[in-house]
Each structure stands twice: as structure tokens, then as C-alpha cells.
Amino acid sequence: MKVFKYFISKIFLRKAVLGISMILLLCMANYITFTSSRSILSTYQGYQETKYINQEGNYIANLDPDSHMDMGLINENGTQAVYSYLNSYYNYAFYVDGFIVSVPNVDDMEVHLSYMNEEYYKLKQFELLQGVDLGFDYQLDDEIPVLVGKGLSKTYPVGSTIRIEESAIGLPITLKVKGVLKQNAYHSNYYALNSKTYYNFSIFFPVNKDFINHANIDLQLNGLMDITILQTSEEGVADLSEVLKDNLGLDFNFFSQKENYDYFNEYYLHSLKIMAIITFVLLAVITCISVWNALVSVRLMLKDFTINLLVGLSYSKLRKIFYIYFGILSFINLAVVFIFTAFNRYGCWIRKDATFVTYGLFGLIGMDWLALLVVVLLNIIIGIMIVETMLRKIKRIPISLGVLQ
């Protein structure tokens, strides 16, 4: 310890600019690795999630980007006709979220209603922390069974009721909390797989045919935008497209499992590959600069090292000192990334950003910890490369009295 203290205070910190530049280089490497890893992990999670929906025989709807949407031409009769057709001939997974409802809670968060029908709920296989699964067999004037996110369960535990003014049907209704979702339950955007909405302050609202029939045009139309038609065929969705065109004047595309995978491969896999390559190249460049920086340090401090080696320092002790030194530098950088991430996560709580608030150890969620683990592994690899290169360099110039003259 005495020797290490001496090396830190009298040798490494003496050339502070080299130490600082090493910290900055490692910080860049850590941050790039962390963000890339987290992005890749988040995309992978999103990809896994779509697998539940994107099964063979299922077709996911998407409004054609070239379709002109004139709200003046769309009326409730049109959307009702579409849903009547859907109810008669298809099984479909219905999901709409983003409807904000006034529900007071201890965290003073905005509460989102996530509407879903039974097929969607079954496909997504949500895990519960408490209570029972969502029930879909209810009357609108009954207490409607709902699930709540973990955050909301503090105010509304299982068995409690919530009175709301429901905007989709425009009536005051009573919700009965039947279960609590596992913490950090999320939904990934189908078209931006690394983007997530967290359900910690959401209410899962069960949608049945009666509810859809009574719902306003906003909910009905929104529901069509991402609707998934289950176990059908090309012809089946072609018929539905025509019904949609006739009743709403909109062109919808229905993408099959293969088309969705092709889309993923074309856009996401490709962009993930590019991201991985760019990250790798940047890391290689940063590692090279770090090694070069370390070699400059060796050159500048060669006399100091040589004198220390002459008076009793051994290569094995020097190796240990270098590893501890780089361990400390890596730890500082890891702490910076950790604090930055925790601060970002905490910021969502401060901003009352209900769709992004999460629970986790020290504020970090699973994928943050995994990304940090990747950073730790990277630091170990870079550390070994730098330390061994430095030692090789020092050994290549044999400690000799000549170095001192």
C-alpha cells in the first residue's frame, strides 16, 4: 500500500496531464460502450417482445404513409362498420395507450390508460407481482377489473377501487384493481424497438366488444392503427383493407410475420450492425490512443521506473501497481457512467415522466446493469492491453545503469 501510495502521488500524478487524458479516453470508451450496449440490449428486448405478436398467420396493421387522412371524412359509423366486420370475421389483438386520466396518487404522477383486448393480453403474457389476471367479462356499469403498475399500487393496492371519468366512452366508471404488474413492465414501439413505454404508472383497461362499440372515434381509430389480425391469410387481410378503405378512406398495410422480420433485418439488424462496427472502430481507436498515451508515460517516467527497479521494485510488484492504478481509473469512469445513468433515471421521477419512470437497484434497471457489466469487461480488456504493453515496453529497455546516464 505504501509503495502504491508512493507511485500514485509521486509518479503517476506527477504527469497529471497523462493521467487526466487516460481518464478522459477511458470515459469515452466507457460511455460509447455503455450506450451502444444498452441500445442493443433494448432493441433485443423489443425484438423478443414482438415475437409474441409477430407469429405466423398474424398480420400487423400500419397506416400507409402515402394515405391521406382527412378526419372530416371519418365518422363513427365508418369505424363501427369496420369493427363490426372485424368482430364477425376475424380474431384480432387490440391495443391503445397514451390516454391520460386523472387519478390522484402518492407520487403525483400522470396516469396512462392502456386499453387492450383479451387476445392482446394473452399474446403479451404479462407477469404479475400480485393479484389475478385481467378479466374481460364485465358490463360497463359494473366495476371494471383492471391491473395497475407497481408505482400506482402504492396508492391503489389489489382490491381497491378507482373512480374515473373515462374519456373513451365519456362516462364515469369504477375500476377495481385485480392485480399489480411486475415492476418495469414495458411495451416497445414496433417501429422503434429500442424505445419503450414503462407501465409503472399505467392502468391496464380490459377492452371487450361491448366497450369498443361504446367507445368514441378516437379510441376506435387509434386501435386500428396497430391492430394485429390473428391467424388469417393474405386474402383475409386484403378483404379487410378494402373494408377499411371503403369505410374510412384510408389505405392500410398489413405486414405478415416474414415481412416484419424482413423489415427488422433491413432496418434494425443493419443499423445494429453499423452501430456495433462504429462502436468497435471507435473503441479500437480509443484503445490505441490509450496504449500510446501509456507508452508516452513510460518514456517520460523511464528514469523513475529504472531507479525504483534498481533499489528493490520487482516487475511483479510493478505489474500489480499498474493493475491497481488502472483498476482505480476504470472504477472512477464506471462510477461516472453509473452516476450519469442513475441521475437520468432519477430525472424521470423528478420530471414526473410516468412513461419512463422505473424501479431498480440504485435506480438502475436490469439492462443498465448488463450494459455496465459490458463496460467492466471492456475495462478489463483495455486494462490488460495497456498494462501488459507498458510492462513489455519497460522490459524491452532492460533496467540498466546506462538508462540513467
Binding site: V3, K10, I307, L309, S314, S316, L404
Partner: protein, 222 residues
């Protein structure tokens, strides 16, 4: 007298990209405890290389080396470092100080590696060394604030602080004036007399060399 160094070098070579230099071919050296030996010879014959080998710094040679009865090739690098710390003292030119440390810290540097429970060192030992060498007034100074003679004495103090059994002096007086040169040589010989320390000095100065018990002339290999 006890033989403490038994060195037999068949060949020591330095390789560069285009050439190979061979020195100290078939060189043998036996040294008894308490002996004073001077090594002389023109530049490039291998004087410093020989000190590197004797001082356990360099093991890249063909040959055998027994020091204090132990075959050095079988020693681990950490043991070699410990021997350099406890049994061998290096007295070098005055430039061999770490400029960022004070003279006191430079002198005490070997104590950092002495470890616990090995060679006991008392504060009085340090005091007696600095008193004997006459460098007390410069202890808090940095090397760049000292004269050449002061630095040379500081290097000497660091070399003897652990009371080594062998002192290897590499051109210790090369850039000193007559007065300081004499001071260093006197200090070296005092160590030899007082503690029976073996002294091996590499020098170009024949006058100093001739004051040793034995002078070894190194010649270029043919």
C-alpha cells in the same frame, strides 16, 4: 576470505536489427567479501554491462553466476529485487535521482521496498548516514536545486542506506570536481573499512582505480 561472487560469462550479446555485438567473452570473476575492485577499459567494452550482471539487473547472458552461494539464475525476479534492495547498493552518477522527490525521499527510496520484518531500519541509521555524508542541509531540497557534488553524495547515501554487502559504483565521480571526487571515494572506502563492504567500481579514472585492491582491465572482444 569468503568468496561472495563467482561469475563466469561465456558470452553477452546485444542484438539490433542489423548487427550483433558480443562482449565479455569468456570472462570470469571471483570476488571475496570486503574486496575493493576497480573495472577499467575503454567505452563499449562492457563495464556497465558487467555491473548490470553483477547487480542482478541483467540475466540475458550465457554463463553462470553464483552470489552469496546461490545460483542467481534460479532466483525468482521478486527475490532478485529483494537482493537488490537489501544486499546490493548502487552508487551511480549524480543524475540518478528522481527530480520530483526531495533529496530525503530519494535517499529513503530503498526503505519503501524493504518490507516489514526483513531488514530492520532505525531512524538513527538514516541520521548517521546523512551526518556522515554531510547532506543534512539539503534534505528538503529537490535535486534540481542542488549542486553536482550534493547530488552525487545523495546518490551515494541512497546506495548505502540499506548497509549493503556489495556496493556497485558506476562512474560515481565522472562529472565531479576534484574535491567532490575525493569526498565520494573516501566515503566508499570508509564503508569498506567500517562494514567490510565489497566495492566494485567502474571508472575511467586510473588514479581512483589504482586505489582499489584489484584493477580489472576489460578489453574489446576479438
Amino acid at each position: 576470505m569468503t568468496k561472495i561472487i563467482d561469475l563466469s560469462i561465456k558470452e553477452k550479446t546485444y542484438k539490433s536489427k542489423n548487427s550483433q555485438l558480443s562482449i565479455l567473452n569468456n570472462f570470469n570473476l571471483e570476488v571475496a567479501a570486503g574486496e575493493k575492485i576497480a573495472i577499467v577499459g575503454e567505452s563499449g567494452v562492457g563495464k556497465s554491462s558487467l555491473l548490470n550482471i553483477i547487480g542482478l539487473i541483467d540475466r540475458n547472458y550465457v554463463g553462470a553466476y553464483t552470489l552469496f552461494g546461490s545460483i542467481t539464475n534460479s532466483l525468482h525476479t521478486s527475490e532478485l529485487a529483494q537482493w537488490r534492495n537489501q544486499k546490493i547498493g548502487f552508487v551511480l552518477q549524480e543524475s540518478a535521482l528522481i527530480n520530483s522527490l526531495t533529496i530525503e525521499d530519494n535517499i529513503k527510496l530503498p526503505l519503501l521496498y524493504a518490507g516489514s520484518g526483513k531488514k530492520e531500519f532505525k531512524a538513527e541509521d538514516f541520521e548517521s548516514v546523512v551526518d556522515a555524508i554531510g547532506i543534512k542541509p539539503i534534505l528538503k531540497k529537490k535535486p534540481l536545486e542542488c549542486s553536482g557534488g550534493e547530488k552525487a553524495r545523495a546518490v551515494f547515501a541512497r546506495g548505502v542506506i540499506m548497509k549493503p554487502q556489495i556496493i556497485l559504483a558506476d562512474e560515481p565521480t565522472a562529472s565531479l570536481d576534484v574535491e567532490n571526487k575525493e569526498r565520494i571515494v573516501t566515503l566508499l572506502f570508509k564503508m569498506n573499512k567500517k562494514f567490510s563492504t565489497t566495492i566494485i567500481t567502474v571508472t575511467h579514472d586510473l588514479e581512483i582505480a589504482n586505489r582499489h585492491d584489484r584493477v580489472i582491465h576489460l578489453e574489446r572482444s576479438k
